[in-house]
Symmetry: C2
Subunit: 172 residues, 2 copies
């Protein structure tokens, strides 16, 4: 009972192509990662922020917002969470007292080790069906696509407006 628009469903037990598999696996990987870091009391966005601050301490919230492609007010919320948990400190910069220089607390520095362990376990879990050479092949192919699609290394588009946020025009 193959509908005309369907690409010979019978021949392919898993009908959809690379794009669908990427979407499916991406959501799966994100969800599993969220579960794992959830045990540390963190969310995936938290991790990204911590990493960015660790990489260049003293950054302003505006600069984070710009790099992530989100609105500054969102960074306020995100940093508030980390601040409340005692993981990041907002230090008023003496030169320009308008902006907040962001720094990790000692506890956060310690946490980064945990996070790295969790991320490693996650990577191994996701790749568990593949041998070493397949793993490299895959990383290469994915890297090619990421470059071609113009994705910034290390910036998860999940920070930006999510997929179906914008309701399409209902007139059709």
């Amino acid at each position: 009972m193959t509908a005309p628009w369907q690409p010979t469903d019978g021949e392919h037990p898993r009908p959809r192509g690379v794009a669908f598999l990427l979407a499916q696996l991406g959501a799966h990987a994100t969800g599993r990662f969220a579960e794992r870091v959830g045990e540390l009391g963190l969310t995936p966005p938290d991790i990204g922020l911590l990493r960015m601050i660790a990489t260049s301490p003293g950054r302003s919230q505006q600069s984070l917002a710009a790099d992530l492609g989100v609105v500054p007010s969102r960074v306020v919320t995100l940093i508030d969470n980390l601040d409340r948990k005692g993981l990041v400190e907002r230090r008023r910069s003496p030169e320009d007292r308008r902006n907040h220089a962001l720094h990790l607390t000692p506890e956060a520095e310690r946490l980064m080790g945990e996070i790295w362990r969790v991320a490693s376990a996650h990577e191994d879990d996701i790749c568990s069906g593949l041998d070493e050479s397949q793993r490299e092949q895959l990383a290469t192919l994915l890297g090619l696509i990421a470059d071609r699609q113009g994705l910034t290394a290390g910036v998860h588009p999940g920070y930006r407006r999510p997929a179906h946020a914008r309701r399409p025009d209902t007139s059709r």
Copy 2:
């Protein structure tokens, strides 16, 4: 300035591994797809529902909810949208008048052709950096992971509770 928890950032311009690339590309692919089908007045969830109904017409809302791993009340909303657009019909089943047998309207049948075209273009776009053999390789590798991770063919986990919906315990 490589922090101790960082996997030699300098050596790898794109530091993260397969898991991160999957998450990143998955979100990207989903977003691009949403843009494309948005021009047809649809969202990615809509597409999935239409496909499931087209594949087995007469299904009940409960059965969809079960397959998608979502709560029945959500299917109500989703089907409401499609109903309002004149794409799906709820027919009271004569045997058990409690459930709604779902069917595509003729207009929806026609739309499926459009959708198929859009999905094809999307697939080509996502794979545009790869040659035919790389494309096959990639599909195979992704399929291996999907199987290993126990993902149901054709069911996007995005239907379920999204990544950071559940705020982790704030005590830590």
